[in-house]
Symmetry: C2
């Protein structure tokens, strides 16, 4: 298994498989098949098998995959068998929702810091966090060794905050700002923009 050779499109499907498997495990199921999992997530059985087999032989002919075992393997592959500290920049409505979000538990992440550049917000609390000044972002994130951040600032601020995050050593940015940002090759960005996602569907209406 050489990470460099695995297509990113396969990596993108693994978290979806993992989510479905965890749900199966929660409901008490012990084993599943590529066909059953495929129906659940909307992917062909052949593709499920091909994707998983990139990383090892985790199934058994005749019986399929042991769910808990496969979950362990996928968590290891995706490196979410540990908890990643996440910095949140932008304490608007979306930032608040993410600071309170329960969906990071057991998925490998926890928010540990919240920043904003609005003087009227700095020092206030969001859930269990005290909003810090974005001006201190680098000096706070770098020594903490934080590699992951979520960006919920206005589009106009996104690139400059992203630059600071990169300077602070962040290598993965989940960008909620409605703008494409430029980052070095060794930094990953994922985009969440509800308008973009909706516009992708209206074409078919």
């Amino acid at each position: 298994m050489n990470a460099n050779k695995i297509p990113d499109i396969i990596i993108g499907r693994l978290p979806v498989y993992l989510r479905a498997l965890q749900r199966m495990a929660d409901s008490g199921l012990k084993t599943t098949s590529s066909q059953e999992l495929g129906e659940l997530v909307g992917v062909s059985a052949a593709q499920i098998r091909k994707d998983i087999s990139q990383f090892g032989e985790f199934g058994k002919q005749g019986t399929g995959y042991a769910i808990v075992y496969l979950i362990e393997k996928l968590r290891g592959i995706l490196k979410v068998d540990k908890i990643w500290d996440v910095a949140l920049i932008g304490a608007g409505d979306m930032g608040h929702a993410l600071a309170h979000y329960q969906g990071f538990a057991n998925r490998g992440f926890r928010v540990v810091m919240v920043f904003d550049n609005d003087k009227s917000k700095i020092g206030k609390n969001v859930g269990e966090f005290t909003i810090e000044d974005t001006a201190h972002l680098v000096e706070r994130i770098k020594p903490a060794g934080i590699k992951t951040a979520m960006l919920t600032v206005p589009a106009t601020a996104a690139q400059s905050v992203a630059d600071q995050l990169i300077q602070a050593g962040v290598k993965a940015i989940l960008n909620y700002a409605p703008i494409s940002i430029n980052v070095p090759n060794n930094v990953k960005v994922q985009y969440i923009d509800p308008s973009i996602h909706l516009q992708r569907m209206t074409f078919y209406l």
Copy 2:
């Protein structure tokens, strides 16, 4: 131009082009090239040209694309040259953030109804909306002709709410619930799950 022949992966890039073009227009630019736009959004110039040329000849040799004209065309293609009414189901933190979200303006959408099944929330206000009972979802959405909805309910409720939305005639669902849902072929779903997006990046850390 036959919609059925356009690959979905191209449709998925058009909103990103549109977003960048609108930003260019806002900053006063008049024309752009496939190369300039490509650098901005992280796509090759050849791909930009190929994607756009699926729908017509919108550029000019030597000078490139007139930004406002291309915006008009893309908005027409994506059918966001009108405003789509959107129903929001789930008035938790994420639902509140989306109800207040300013980012739908000028992008083709507006939230018009908010539902929840929590008796303690029904009747309360979220921004300009009064939270309605999910039990009345079909009878409210269907006569209003709403085709687009956002789902911010718990995973356990997602499939049954999706079924009701489909019954109400909704054809496009933006699903924030952390679970894959099954829908008929003529209904589109897009998924937003911050943990999934983060897990897609931790592989590379």
